[in-house]
Amino acid sequence: MGNTILEVKNLKKYFKSPRGMVHAVDGVQFSIERGQTLGVVGESGCGKSTLGRCVLRLIEPTEGEVFFEGRDICKLKKREIKELRKEMQIIFQDPFSSLNPRKTVLEIISEPIVFNKLMPGASRAQIENRVLELMDTVGIAERLINAYPHELDGGRRQRIGIARALAMNPKFIVCDEPVSALDVSIQAQILNLLKKLQKEMGLTYMFITHDLSVVHYFSNDIIVMYLGQVVEKAPSDVLFKNPLHPYTRALLSSILVPKVGGNQDTIQLRGEVTSPIDPPDECRFAKRCDYRCETCEGSNPPLVEVEENHFVACHCVKPGENLLKKSGAVSAS
């Protein structure tokens, strides 16, 4: 446990809305080991980005604690947060809005260095050399140093976003769907780049995505989110071999490659999505779940460890017994 870099405890973020409180993140708990990757999966609107921003304290959590290297960052003062920014960075989803259209590549990448005085006393040339080095690290040609973002394609823009984050020398990076806006071929390049950087610099990632196939390749652990809550948490391999929560199964079945002659059906999710606005105390997935019973509508299931390191929040899955198997659920192995 001594090597835990980030630990999140009972994190909540509610947004005010005209119709009530939006429970964007509702009691999330996890930890990440140094140098590892935590995958965060879930459908659109389930609170992944909000979680990522709370963890960096880009927005103020409503409740809960976030320990980064042992310090609760929710209690830090303004000046201390500024120091913290050097340790934790973020890479964004949309490479078209994540770069300021008025700034050149040089300005974008050097801004974190200049603003935070990361190279005290350095000349312009030295800072520029550092920028060139970062550009080289992320695979951007030197000749693009004076280009504006609109002159570049999505993949290159994303690389510049990565270089900007690296300029701070962070230890921990939240990757908020860094490849969802890119072509498949470019996705692979960016993923490989991120992986290479992790290996070379010992980075820790929190990797947000709605695409399970991407995290499988990338993550050590995965948490599956549904309407602001974690419904399943397991090491990547375990989750793919033995998904227990009905929602995880549905997600997984949608990415499995159909085998010739196999009778692999995808699980269709039907039914209305529970509103994240002041949700009642029941299983939030119940309305779309094929296995729901009275208990499911009675209370919201807690996250329990059903086997080693494998946590599930489902009334029908308990340590040693799995009611879903009995009811003839699709095996996803």
Binding site: R53, I90, Q93, S97, R102, P112, N116, G161
Partner: protein, 307 residues
Amino acid sequence: MSRGQTETIVSRKEGHSATLASRKYKKKSAFLESWNRLRTNPGAMFGLIVIILMVLLMVYSFMFITEEDVMAINSANRFKPPSAAHPFGTDSMGRDLFMRTVYGTRYSLAVGFFSVAFGLVVGVFFGTLAGYFGGWVEEIIMRVSDVMASIPGMLLGMVIVAVLGPSFLNLLIAIGVSNISGFIRMSRASILSVKGSEFVEAARAIGMSEFRIAFSQVLPNSVSPLIVTATARIATSVLAAAGLSFIGFGVPVPLPEWGALISDGRNYLGRAPHLTLFPGIFIMLTTFACSLLGDGLRDALDPKLKQ
């Protein structure tokens, strides 16, 4: 883990700094691109040329026309029609109208420039605060701005001049104040359109303060619409100044402000129409030129808008 920057810098050859990469590769100039688009717009070029001519006339007047030249009364020379000696004729006191009109350029251009600059600086400051910070800051700023916008500019100008007394400086202030609310709304709107961008969040993630983000990251993205608005406001300001002077709320009477010249000439419309005609043409040319240039700039600065 070698993540100290200092080591990495040392590892690069010092000699490398002699040729900065940023010098080696040309920056695509946004200004040049816009200029190339503007150049092909005949209306905008006409406007630009007229404005340049006006500025040259003003410079000329500063160098060669004294206040005495335009104020000296010559009763032998009253109401002369345009001629070689007096290209625009003479007025009711025998003063050369060409000299007076050219001398008056400084007032209109000064009003156009300073009152718009004043409205721009004040309006953009508050508009940016309102748009970026929202909440009660926005509420207060926008309510005040709405009240200001709901009073007709002329009326607001008259009130301000009535309170402060008629002088050229007060005329500048009056028109400057009436320019503020337009810029508040303009800058607030364009701030709103970019403030949710991820690059704003990226700036936050490197530790920038909200105030700094608003003015150094977000505001520069609304430069184009502001230039367009400013150019258009110059036209209305010149017109408003002439209007206020016409009714005696502007530049004090004997000084040859264009509106004052027309006001003076309207008493002799039948006898000496040139007294109103020439200053009128100057007012029209200036405002028309600014409007044309403003329209041209809108297309040149933001080609996406045209479609």
